[in-house]
């Protein structure tokens, strides 16, 4: 596919309010690559939280309002594996037999997770301007299994000369976030993030990078909570923010 | 449950199953992989697989197995040998070492079950063939070679003719037309009895034979 001139950016509700810098960095990376980025101001959420909790009518109302934000036939770039996965894999089911099923499918067909877009569409070349750093990657389950883009984040990081990537034990295992799972099954979720943070600490990585802020909120929150007993853990950071920090010229 | 209720249960179940009009799912494609292995490769593969699960494999000319057993059985202190009534069993009976006590599986099990469970060291059987891919023996027990012969004795010795080894299970079924004449019992045996039920640690000889010795006859 030839790189488009313009794209929509769907920042996601989590990033909009909690991790805006990650979203902004994603937009800046795209702009630096020569693409005009449009951030529709009416965007809210893809509907995933309610969909995964069984509240499909509520999910549908919300997803429906999002559809209206991307009218032009240009790619929709999403800095989150799980939100991109919701649109690409689950909207068909959510919108089944609805009047706007076709519109939903049309948007899904031009939706990309950010690292997928940077690698597959832009074939982005990166030049590392940062100091040496040791990092570990946590690929979200949705990026890995719903979007099939587990390798993309690592191929981007692999271009950065001063970045050393270390591997944690049981890398492909879920961190225990799972949206409302973290609340409904709090103790299981707590046990899971405990194991995940233990394996990440053991690598000696200074930072943990992911494509999904849900996982980072879980893992980073657990590192913070454990700080008193186990010391400060690695810094958690979204891939967009990390790439922008390492590559933009004014740094 | 009486017969009538059972009939009702049957009718109810079938009625529920017929009640929904399901989208028909296409017939699966035929599954008949062929690896084109030579006989040497098949022997090699079967032996490796068998040995990986502690099966013992010995290759020998087809004339040598009686002699091999006459030498090995006393050496291994295996004296009570159970045989069926096949041509191979008769051949062995005719030439067996005098130190061996031979038992004949010629009665119904009820007449000697306790003896079978307690007094036999080794059962010797033929095989219908072997499967290279999985390292398996094919056995179709017969009146001449009953089912428990390969199961109850602590050691099972199986005679396998080298030219009866096929690539895989599907091929065996296809070539031997299994679906047209399934026997009372058909078996694949791939090693001695084993379990991993305690701490997922492999242990051999839980219920079936503790040792499986395969003699590949060439």
């Amino acid at each position: 596919m030839k790189p488009p001139e313009r794209v929509y950016f769907f920042g996601t509700c989590l990033i909009d309010m909690l991790y805006p810098k990650a979203g902004l960095a994603g937009m800046q990376l795209l702009r630096q690559a020569g693409i005009k980025v449009i951030y529709p101001k009416d965007q809210t959420c893809c509907g995933q939280p309610a969909f995964n909790s069984g509240y499909r009518d509520e999910a549908l109302s919300v997803a429906r309002s999002l559809i209206k934000c991307f009218p032009q036939n240009i790619p929709v770039v999403v800095p989150s594996g799980s939100c991109a996965g919701m649109i690409k894999q689950h909207w068909a089911e959510l919108f089944a037999d609805q009047v706007d099923a076709e519109a939903a499918a049309e948007i899904a067909s031009r939706t990309y997770e950010l690292t997928q877009f940077l690698v597959d569409v832009l074939d982005l070349k990166l030049k590392d301007l940062g100091k040496p750093v040791k990092i570990a990657v946590h690929t979200s389950c949705s990026a890995r299994r719903e979007m099939g883009v587990a390798e993309h984040i690592e191929s981007l990081l692999g271009q950065l000369d001063a970045v050393e990537l270390v591997q944690q034990e049981r890398k492909a295992e879920c961190c225990g976030f799972g949206g409302t799972f973290a609340i409904k099954q709090a103790d299981i979720s707590g046990a899971m993030v405990q194991d995940k943070t233990t394996s990440l600490r053991a690598t000696g990585a200074e930072r943990v990078i992911s494509q999904d802020c849900g996982c980072l909120m879980n893992i980073g929150g657990a590192f913070d909570k454990q700080a008193q007993d186990k010391g400060k853990g690695p810094v958690t950071q979204h891939i967009a923010e990390f790439l922008w920090e390492r590559t933009h010229a004014s740094n | 449950m009486n017969e009538l209720n059972q009939k009702t249960a049957r009718d109810n179940i079938l009625a529920r199953l017929r009640n929904n009009r399901m989208t028909q799912s296409a017939s699966p494609a035929p599954y008949l992989p062929s690896y084109g292995w030579s006989q040497a490769e098949k022997i090699q593969r079967l032996s490796e697989r068998m040995q990986a699960v502690r099966g013992e494999v010995h290759r020998m000319p087809r004339t040598d197995w009686v002699g091999w057993l006459n030498q090995e059985l006393p050496k291994r202190k295996l004296h009570n040998i159970l045989l069926g009534e096949t041509a191979n069993a008769e051949l062995f009976r005719a030439q067996a070492d005098a130190a061996l006590t031979l038992h004949r599986y010629d009665r119904v099990i009820e007449d000697w079950k306790q003896d079978l469970f307690k007094q036999v060291d080794v059962g010797i059987t033929d095989t219908l063939g072997g499967i290279a891919e999985s390292g398996s023996l094919i056995l179709w027990p017969t009146p001449q070679e009953p089912r428990l012969l390969s199961l109850v004795p602590p050691v099972h010795i199986a005679l396998l003719e080298a030219d009866k080894i096929v690539d895989n299970f599907a091929q065996a079924m296809h070539q031997q037309h299994w679906s047209e004449h399934m026997p009372t019992n058909a078996l694949l045996i791939s090693g001695p009895s084993k379990t991993a039920d305690i701490e997922q640690t492999l242990a051999y000889g839980i219920h079936g034979p503790k040792q499986l010795i395969v003699l590949i006859l060439e």
């Binding site: 909009d16 309010m17 805006p20 979203g23 902004l24 937009m27 449009i38 951030y39 809210t44 959420c45 995964n52 069984g54 499909r56 509520e58 309002s65 389950c141 299994r145 799972f181 099954q185 103790d187 046990a191 909120m217 909570k225 | 449950m1 059972q6 249960a9 109810n12 179940i13 079938l14 199953l17 009640n19 399901m22 799912s25 296409a26 119904v108 009820e110 999985s134 009146p143 199961l151 299970f169 079924m173 296809h174 299994w178 679906s179 399934m182 026997p183 009372t184 019992n185 078996l187 694949l188 009895s193 379990t195 991993a196 039920d197 305690i198 701490e199 997922q200 242990a203 219920h207 079936g208």
Partner: protein
């Protein structure tokens, strides 16, 4: 006690059992590695999964005809076929067969369907001695515990616990913590039982309609002994186990053993088509098959949920589940644990009893990725979540639809919709949330039990984007 509360109690207990958690972690890691090693070529694996899926899906669409064909073939072969709609009926049928044959002692091969019907308990109440002969099942029978895994039932116990258990019941055999020795002790104990049992009971892995053949997959030889040494053999299975043709068996067997325990094949593959014939010298004189429905025909009525029935009980979804590995099988409180349990049990037992299991899933998808018959487990769990909070959304034949709907929760989602389905409301909400971020509580219920609190950023992405000169249309 409400199912949610009971479930949380079991989880709490499970998470505090360090010994069992260590067992689950090491066992599941081992099983995952062994499975992966069996599939070095991903293309071949995917083709085999397609094949297995097609065979099972095809068998399900033709299920009524295939069951009739199976019955007809088995009957012609001399095997008696019985039909049971419920667990209770299945148990009654089995008891009547045993009673009529004057069978007082029986040995059992492993059968998850008999766990569904709680057969052992039923028969023991009627003075029939039932002995589980699979080593794992034998161990948990001594301990009076249910299986914690469908393939490795005693995996929650370590060798020391097994040693103590054996010593408690068989003090004359001496104490050992050596696994090989314990295995031989079990052999010794069970040999006599095999030699003397009146009847054997087994499950069935596949039932072939074309030839009237019951297939059993096992490593120990207890399955063969249970189905060969006693004079009577009763097999029990779910109606979904029927497949059309004998040629369907090799690919299913291939993917089953590799997916389950990472073995290229099990030690024994046992195919039974007849009772003992007049000229044969051993084998049971009578063989019976009990076909159990127990909600399966209802599950099949829903075009999406019927995928549940493709399952061949390999347990790969359980082995790869990050929730199961933390809590183990007993926490689920059902016969089938893990992802397949979260899907099957609420349909079998009703959402009002076990619907809470659908919450024990992060939707990570590790299960669906390895399922040999491509059951979309997370999708089905998600669907059941929807059924459990909505009484009237579908015509699926599941009990307890809507039974997990709670007012607080449904109101929370209604408010969420109010805020997120309207850009104007959302902007207003966001403005307050970012401006009043200083008021965010430091404790956010269950979340902050294990993590620090969450605080909105001072400015939203929308504001930053505008600031940085990005277009909004």
């Amino acid at each position: 006690m409400h199912q949610t509360e009971a479930f949380h109690q079991r989880i709490d207990k499970a998470l505090h059992n360090e010994q069992a958690r260590t067992s689950f972690r090491s066992t599941m890691s081992g099983l995952m590695q062994k499975r992966a090693a069996q599939f070095p070529d991903n293309d071949e694996l995917q083709a085999l999964r397609d094949q297995a899926r097609a065979i099972r899906a095809h068998a399900l669409t033709r299920q009524p005809e295939l069951l009739e064909q199976l019955e007809q073939k088995l009957t012609a072969n001399g095997i008696r076929v019985h039909w049971a709609e419920t667990a209770q009926q299945a148990n009654e049928i089995i008891y009547q067969i045993l009673h009529a044959a004057d069978a007082k002692t029986l040995v059992k091969g492993k059968s998850m369907v008999s766990e569904e019907t709680e057969l052992n308990h039923y028969l023991e109440q009627r003075n029939i001695e039932v002995l589980e002969s699979d080593l794992g099942e034998f161990i948990i029978q001594l301990a009076h515990e249910p299986p914690s895994h469908i393939v490795a039932p005693a995996i929650h116990k370590n060798v020391k616990q097994v040693a103590e258990l054996f010593h408690q019941f068989f003090p004359e055999l001496g104490y050992t913590e050596n696994i090989d020795e314990l295995t031989l002790l079990a052999r010794q104990i069970l040999r006599d039982k095999f030699a003397n049992a009146d009847a054997g009971i087994s499950g069935v892995n596949f039932a072939v309609a074309e030839t009237g053949t019951l297939c059993l997959v096992e490593n120990e030889g207890n399955g063969r002994l249970s189905t060969t040494a006693p004079r009577l053999h009763i097999a029990i299975t779910g109606i979904e186990k029927v497949v059309a043709k004998l040629s369907d068996i090799p690919p299913l067997l291939n993917i089953l053993t590799k997916s389950a325990t990472g073995q290229p094949i099990t030690t024994y593959f046992n195919m039974i088509s007849r009772p003992r014939q007049p000229d044969e010298k051993d084998g049971p004189q009578a063989v019976h098959l009990v076909l159990l429905d127990n909600q399966r025909s209802s599950i099949r009525m829903d075009e999406e949920l019927l995928d549940t029935l493709r399952c061949i009980r390999c347990g790969a979804c359980i082995n790869h589940c990050p929730v199961y590995v933390q809590v183990g099988g007993h926490a689920y409180g059902t016969v089938y644990p893990g992802p397949i349990g979260c899907v099957l049990e609420p349909q079998r037992l009703g959402l009002e009893k076990t619907g809470i299991l659908t919450s024990a899933c992060t939707m990570c998808g590790a299960c669906a990725e390895v399922c040999p018959v491509r059951i979309p487990l997370p999708k089905l769990i998600n669907r059941l979540r929807a059924e459990s909070v909505n009484a009237a959304r579908s015509e699926a034949h599941i009990n307890g639809k809507g039974s997990l709907r709670k007012l607080t929760e449904s109101q929370a989602w209604a408010i969420w919709r109010l805020l997120y389905a309207s850009p104007r409301n959302y902007r207003l909400f966001r403005w307050f949330a970012t401006r009043l971020r200083g008021l965010t509580p430091t404790r956010l219920g269950a979340w902050t039990r294990y993590r620090s609190s969450i605080k909105p950023a001072p400015r939203s992405l929308q504001e930053l984007a505008q600031q940085e000169g990005f277009d909004h249309e």
